[in-house]
Amino acid sequence: MARTVTAQRKAINTAVAWVIGILIFFPILWTILTSFKTEAQAIADPPVWFFFDWTLENYRVVQERSNYSRFLWNSIIIAGGSTALGMLVAIPAAWSMAFVPSNQTKNILLWMLSTKMLPAVGVLYPIYLIFIQLGLLDSRFGLTIVIMLINLPIMVWMLYTYFKEIPGEILEAARMDGAGLREEILFVLTPMAIPGIASTVLLNIILAWNEAFWTLNLTAARAAPLTAFIASYSSPEGLFYAKLSAASTMAIAPILILGWFSQKQLVRGLTFGAVK
């Protein structure tokens, strides 16, 4: 039953939503503003807001000092590659759990989730030593695999939730019409689950893009993605807040744009099945 919403209540809701939205966005806005200031303006007290001589100097310096395109390329490969590989594993896994569950399915799902409960640093040394043995340190391939494995539980869980919403009868009907397992997954299930798959893909790209623990620990020069690019502008002795802000803005811009254009898809996917 729908509740009647008074105009006053609506106005309050809108105001609260705006305040929360601005609070969440403020750090990003401040970073972007700071990236156009000089170092002296960046630490000015009281802070300068919008009325200063906007400068592109920081971007020029960052471009000059760092090979941005290489970091960006590494980020794209690692985020894209780990998501693609992960989906390849997660879709069949989620399918089997959703449509042909065994009495252990619940336990397997919980066990997968439990791997996210261990702090990452707990397995840093084993993984580091394995990487040395396999010669995978500072390689995009190694990092792609690790990030894929880290995000896999989330992918399987999300897809499992979406697949559960799809009536099994439709798949049965497809089978009656002679569809094999492959056709059933590819032509019947996947198209119906596209919103869910899309939001899983997007969320995982974002998670992989922002992953900073493994990307900093397992890379040096060759495979370092944008997280390492940002980290390289932090200084123990010296104030480089404006340059750090410019580097941060350059690192988050691609993912921010992707998120902006796909926000409808993201919201639809994340609320998929939320309303019964």
Binding site: T38, E39, A40, I43, A44, D45, R65, I77, G80, G81, S82, A84, L85, M87, L88, L124, Y125, Y128, L129, I132, L137, D138, S139, R140, F141, G142, L143, T144, L186, T190, L216, N217, A220, A221, R222, A224, A228, A231, S232, Y233, S234, S235, P236, E237, G238, L239, F240
Partner: protein
Amino acid sequence: MELRKTFASATALALVMASGAHAQSLTIATVNNGDMIRMQGLSGEFTEATGIELEWVILEENVLRQRVTQDIATSGGQFDIMTIGMYEAPIWAERGWLVSLDGLPGEYDIDDILPAMRAGLSFEGSLYAAPFYGESSMVMYRTDLMEAAGLEMPEEPTWDDIAAAAAAMTDRDAGINGICMRGRAGWGENMAFITTVANSFGARWFDENWTAQLDSPEWLEAVTFYNDLIQNYGPSGAANNGFNENLTLFQQGRCGMWLDATVAASFVTNPDDSTVADSVGFALAPNRDGMDKRANWLWAWALAIPAGTQQEAAAMEFINWATSKDYLELVAEREGWANVPPGSRTSLYENPEYAEVPFADMTLRSINAADPNNPTVDPVPYVGIQFVAIPEWSGIGTLAGQEFSDMVAGRQTPEQALARAQALVTDEMEAAGY
């Protein structure tokens, strides 16, 4: 079918791109300090002269320390040259993790390295890390505020002089704090500073039997003095202030004095960034009236070669270039003498052109006043001034640092902080088998 193709091609693409070719080059791990950035900028000259390509891995200080330790302890072989500090150099050299720099050529003139720096970066008489720049700590103060208060800062102040100046310059209504000091927890943050204060009050971390001494009256006196200064004349929120926060405050004109690294002198006198650039004076770190130990530390950012690198000769060649006399001249020629990395070579301080830099003399005197082999009034079993050169120090320093930071935040008294720090340090040292 489309979807399968997409997945297959995405996977293939990821795999192909992940296995790129590896170029022959030196990988150098360093921090984002101004002098290192300058070195990176000038390193094209090195590549041009030698044909050796350089890959730079620039990391945040704590991440660098963790990455480098992890790599060296597991023989990961990720780096050919590492930027390390005076704390790591002797410990790592003892474990055989570093290549001795005895192989540097004669024209490098190893005897030209400032004796204090050379002593701190050597193990059993051999140099294991070449100082890129060195620092001590000193007093930086506002000459205009001192004048307005009718005071004059001696070149060799005592703690009483500092306390009197802090009281006179503090003007909370105008937003001016008499003194800014480190308060943020960390063995390289507040503990570096507090340890030097303790040294100057005659305290020490351990006696000759490695028994923790934080329950001594000297420690109580030192910590109480530090806490009173920072509470009465320090900025609000001082418990969160490290080097960069205090640098910001000083450049904004919010500090009458700032006691910190000598390397800050070039920042606070740079008119592009500092609003007080033309009214900064320098003085030696203070001592206690009648005691000869001053509260100044000694630190160097140094270049070292991890044992097991495949490119030892090339790495040696780079270190020879980056820490040579010629490099100092190259920087002077391109960017002026004030931007030359300080505190590494005697010849730099004998250069009449460098002597004109306003902070050159006080930096050298500060460095020379520091003796890492005799850091305290009473004898101690360790070397290091603002740290104790044992592997356990980073742990105990950070634990104790938290207690003192809590004290600055007003959550406990100096007595409580010292009692808890003493208990923590004693536990850790017992667990480590001392």
